[in-house]
């Protein structure tokens, strides 16, 4: 029965390809084809979930070997990445739960998204996301998991920016994606370290090799994956991205941030249980971060006034608790907590819009049992976003600005980049005028006219002198001197400002240290 596992992620991928290509080539478009798209998406995920359930039953009956290898994906020296899947235990149970939830959400979306612009786009992304999640939980090696991980992040980006014509949505999507990239970087680093120290990227080998790792190596690997998990599961200090992700449509919120994707972090920790058990420091970090996140989410959740925000901070808090449980070593509890939470939160997100109808008119009493400072901090979400802006976004933006300035003012002039067209000649007639030296925009030419030989002579001499005066005396000495002086002062100011900026001070400190050591 192991070979079924290949079909599980393949079904939604096929659906995504059909919808995507069909929409791209115009075969699927408009309201008329909504049914077709919906059928493809929902049937593929239903088939997928049936397959998963079959696999689950087979696992219970003990018919599965632990893994199934399809073939080699790439080989290089000692690096061997195969296309393999895990077919037993927690992974399969989680895959079954996720696929059922995905099927429910997909089915829910059919009516919910009816006549929305981008209907086909939505189902394409949802199918792609289903593929990514199923690959994530079923893949037997870290690279496959990472592909799913990345694809899920990308789909999240697409769906937050679902209404891409709204600047807020687009900005939030970018922010979320960039925040998640920090976790991705940690993930890649973790994969690299695993390969270097444990000798493989297969999860089972990593787990088995963890006993031979030194505590330092185990801690490094565990911390890398822990950071990746923190980013994906919106733990501190990455929590703010979750609130920004609410820009997407409700079904996507439910499936990404309520039921499925946010749990990927916890899943990763549980998957790496052997490594973590050899790294007490990493366990402690996971526990502390989880605890703080839970407290943070609780306090901030107190002051939320809209249903989606309340749910999102509740999610964040519950995830924090799961991390705490992992950190304290209650792995089984964390796994159960994960499954239960996924089901409940998925339901809550899906009913959130109708909840608004149901509670209309009811009094929602504001909380006033906390001290004022906590209340303010809660309202401001502990200033996490402004702090990130100040510490990361602003310096990076400043650096980019400086580099762009360097490009515009030094590289472009040196290489002869395109000049602004304002002062360029726009017509052939103007070129002619300039060539023969007639200044038709200057009315003194028509004014100062002489007749007869003496008059013409005077006129020409005066024109020559005027040219001299204008070119050298007025413009050359007077105006240009001021302009050059001004430019020089501007450059000096610029230099002064740049030197005083913190990032350059830090750079100088680094250079000094480098020279010193």
């Amino acid at each position: 029965m192991d070979s079924l596992v290949v079909l599980i992620p393949l079904m939604p991928l096929a659906a995504a390809l059909v919808i995507g290509l069909g929409h791209l080539f115009g075969a699927i478009s408009g309201e008329a084809d909504e049914t077709l798209t919906a059928d493809i998406a929902s049937w593929s995920i239903i088939m997928s979930s049936l397959l998963t359930l079959t696999l689950l039953i087979a696992d219970w009956l003990g018919k599965n070997s632990a893994s199934y290898t399809v073939g080699h994906w790439l080989n290089s020296d000692t690096l061997d990445i195969s296309l393999n899947f895990i077919t037993t235990g927690f992974n399969v149970r989680l895959a079954a739960l996720f696929s059922v939830l995905l099927a429910i959400v997909t089915h829910f979306s059919i009516n919910y998204m009816h006549r929305e612009t981008g209907y086909h786009r939505f189902f394409f992304i949802l199918s792609l996301f289903s593929f990514a999640m199923l690959l994530l939980v079923l893949s037997g090696n870290a690279v496959g998991t990472f592909i799913g991980w990345e694809l899920a992040g990308l789909c999240s980006y697409f769906l937050i920016a679902y209404a891409y014509d709204r600047p807020v949505a687009a900005a939030n999507a970018t922010r979320v994606f960039v925040t998640n990239r920090i976790g991705d970087a940690a993930f890649v680093l973790g994969v690299g370290l695993s390969y270097a120290w444990a000798g493989s990227v297969n999860w089972d080998i990593i787990g088995a090799a963890s006993a031979q790792l030194t505590p330092g190596e185990a801690t490094s690997i565990a911390l890398c994956f822990a950071v990746a998990a923190f980013a994906k599961s919106a733990q501190l200090p990455f929590t703010p991205w979750l609130a920004r992700a609410m820009e997407g449509p409700t079904p996507s919120s439910a499936v990404f941030y309520g039921a499925v994707m946010v749990h990927a972090g916890v899943y990763l920790i549980i998957l790496l249980k052997p490594v973590f058990e050899h790294a007490p420091l990493a366990m402690a970090v996971v526990a502390i971060v989880g605890l703080i996140t839970a407290l943070y989410a609780f306090v901030v959740g107190l002051t939320q006034t809209d249903v989606k925000s309340s749910l999102i901070f509740a999610t964040s808090g519950q995830l924090g608790l799961m991390f705490l449980e992992c950190g304290l070593g209650f792995w089984r509890l964390a796994a159960w907590h994960l499954c239960a939470h996924a089901a409940v939160r998925g339901y809550q997100f899906l009913t959130a819009p109708s909840l608004m109808h149901n509670v209309q008119g009811l009094d929602t009493a504001p909380t006033n049992k906390v001290p004022t400072w906590l209340f303010v901090a809660s309202l401001q979400r502990f200033w996490l976003d402004p702090m990130t802006d100040w510490a990361l976004v602003k310096p990076v933006r400043g650096l980019a600005h400086d580099l762009s300035y360097f490009d515009d003012h030094i590289v472009d002039p040196m290489m002869g980049g395109a000049a602004p067209a304002i002062r360029a000649i726009s017509s052939l007639a103007q070129l002619e005028e300039r060539v023969i030296g007639a200044h038709l925009d200057n009315d003194s030419d028509t004014f100062a006219q002489g007749s007869g030989l003496a008059g013409k002579l005077t006129e020409w001499t005066a024109a020559v002198l005027h040219w001299f005066e204008d070119r050298f005396v007025l413009r050359g000495i007077g105006k240009n001197a001021i302009n050059y002086g001004r430019r020089l002062g501007h450059i000096a100011n610029k230099f002064e400002q740049s030197v005083l900026r913190p990032r350059y001070l830090v750079l100088f400190v680094f250079i000094t240290l480098l020279v010193a050591f």
Partner: protein
């Protein structure tokens, strides 16, 4: 405290009093400013009456050492060279204030600046110590910077900045020259003009030439001499018309005045540089005239004609003989009166119509007959018509420059150039008259008011001065004659 100190500090006292006056009380401010310029003018009139025109030396001298170690002193005095300039400075300050009734904003600051400017100008003409001279020379810059930069036209900021940068740049060369001369004044160790004259004699010839070149740049910027005049068109066009009056009427003369003093101090170097100076003077005349002929902007035309007229002054100085020097000094006075009258009249016309383009005007004689009379007289004087003071000055300069050439051919060539530049001057003056006052009437130009009483008074004084000194030049000539002949004696003695 002598009469010269009283004269010098009168505008400064006015500045102090104005500073204490509340800014809202516009009438009081105008009254105080006018009062103090009038007092200064009356003081100069009194000075003229007691001035002994036959005494060539310094009169009413005052001397207080300021810094004995450096040898600088508060030394004042007048002679035949500075006396007409003093009269011109006080007269034109009064007239500029008469023309300032239309200044609408920041009236207090404006009058403070004008009085401060008068203080600086009087200081330049009264100082008999080069250090003091230099201080007052720089003092005039500050109020002018603000006058052009705050109350000027559209491009006023560029104009004021340009003006100050040019003049400061020139001043540096002047300062270096002064320091170079004072190096040789070991005996007195001072910067008095009389002692510096002695010191300059001890300098090597080459250093004298270099020092004179430094002076030529420093004073040439202000005068202006041909390649250094870049600030002038912009500053004159952008400045409010009362400031244009002071600029062209007196500020340019400061340059010529300083240059005469420098040439008398270094006659040998001046003889060496004589061809250059003559060329610059002649070329400046032609250059300014031709460019003035090209301008359709009235103020720019008058500004360029100033360059042309100051070329005559430079030519007169370059002759290094009595007739030429007399011509130069006369032309300074003449141009002071004529340019002031032109800027005054053009300025009040601009206030009525808000256009300076000559082509916009037509047939003003019907609506503004008094204005027509005054402007026509001023323009005719600018082209050097006999009967105006300009003619006397140009005649002297022409005679003086004719004398310096040993052979007749060069003299005739020079005369030809001179005449051509006068012809060009006549061309633009007559064209302006015909375009402004004749031709078909334009509807836009039919509702203009003729001159008001203060304007009439101001223009009347200037134009009557032009005509009076043109018909009876003797008093004006006598005023400077003794000093000029003594200077000439010094120069010819040193040259030989």
């Amino acid at each position: 405290m002598g009469i010269l100190s009283i004269l010098l500090w009168t505008p400064a006292a006015g500045v102090l009093l104005l500073a204490l006056t509340p800014g809202r009380n516009i009438q009081l401010i105008r009254y105080i400013a006018n009062l103090f310029t009038t007092i200064a003018f009356l003081l100069v009139c009194w000075l003229l009456s007691i001035y002994n025109a036959h005494d060539a030396g310094l009169q009413f001298g005052e001397y207080y050492p300021l810094n004995p170690k450096l040898g600088s002193a508060y030394a004042l005095g007048v002679d035949g060279l500075s006396m007409p300039m003093l009269a011109l400075a006080t007269l034109l300050s009064s007239i500029a204030l008469l023309a300032s009734f239309t200044v609408a904003h920041s009236i207090k600051g404006y009058h403070v600046c004008i009085l401060l400017l008068e203080f600086g100008m009087l200081g330049v003409f009264l100082a008999q110590d080069w250090a003091l001279f230099y201080i007052f020379w720089e003092v005039t810059l500050i109020p002018l910077f603000f006058l052009i930069g705050r109350w000027g036209g559209k491009r006023r900021h560029a104009a004021s900045l340009n003006f100050v940068l040019y003049t400061m740049g020139g001043s540096i060369f002047m300062l270096i020259s002064l320091l170079a001369v004072s190096q040789y004044d070991l005996e007195h160790g001072g910067s008095l003009m009389s002692s510096m004259h002695q010191a300059a004699q001890d300098m090597p010839r080459i250093e004298q030439v270099l020092v004179l070149l430094g002076f030529l740049i420093g004073f040439g910027v202000k005068m202006p001499v041909f390649p250094l005049h870049g600030w002038l068109p912009l500053a004159h066009v952008e400045a409010p018309s009362p400031v244009s009056i002071l600029l062209s009427g007196i500020l340019l003369k400061m340059g010529a005045y300083g240059l005469i003093r420098a040439v008398v101090m270094l006659p040998e170097a001046a003889l060496l540089l004589q061809p250059v100076l003559i060329f610059l003077g002649l070329f400046g005349m032609l250059y300014g005239g031709l460019l003035a002929w090209r301008q359709s902007d009235l103020k720019a035309m008058v500004a360029y004609s100033s360059i042309s007229h100051m070329g005559i002054v430079l030519l007169g100085i370059a002759t290094l003989n009595e007739a030429g020097m007399t011509g130069a000094v006369l032309q300074m006075t003449a141009h002071g009166l004529i340019a002031a009258a032109l800027f005054l009249l053009v300025g009040l016309l601009y206030e009525r119509t808000h256009t300076r383009n000559i082509q916009d005007y037509s047939c003003l004689i019907q609506v503004m007959p008094r204005f027509t009379l005054f402007l026509t007289l001023a323009l005719l004087a600018a082209m050097g018509l006999p009967g105006s003071v300009g003619f006397i000055a140009e005649l002297h300069t022409l005679i003086g420059s004719f004398r310096i050439f040993p052979n007749v051919g060069l003299g005739i060539a020079l005369m030809a150039f001179f005449s051509v530049s006068i012809l060009i001057g006549a061309a633009y003056a007559l064209r302006t008259i015909s375009l402004l006052f004749t031709g078909p009437g334009k509807p836009r130009m039919q509702q203009l008011d003729d001159m008001t009483a203060p304007e009439l008074l101001a223009a009347g004084i200037l134009v009557s001065g032009i005509v009076l000194f043109g018909l009876l030049p003797a008093p004006l000539l006598e005023l400077s004659a003794a000093t000029l002949s003594q200077m000439n004696a010094t120069i010819s003695q040193r040259i030989l």
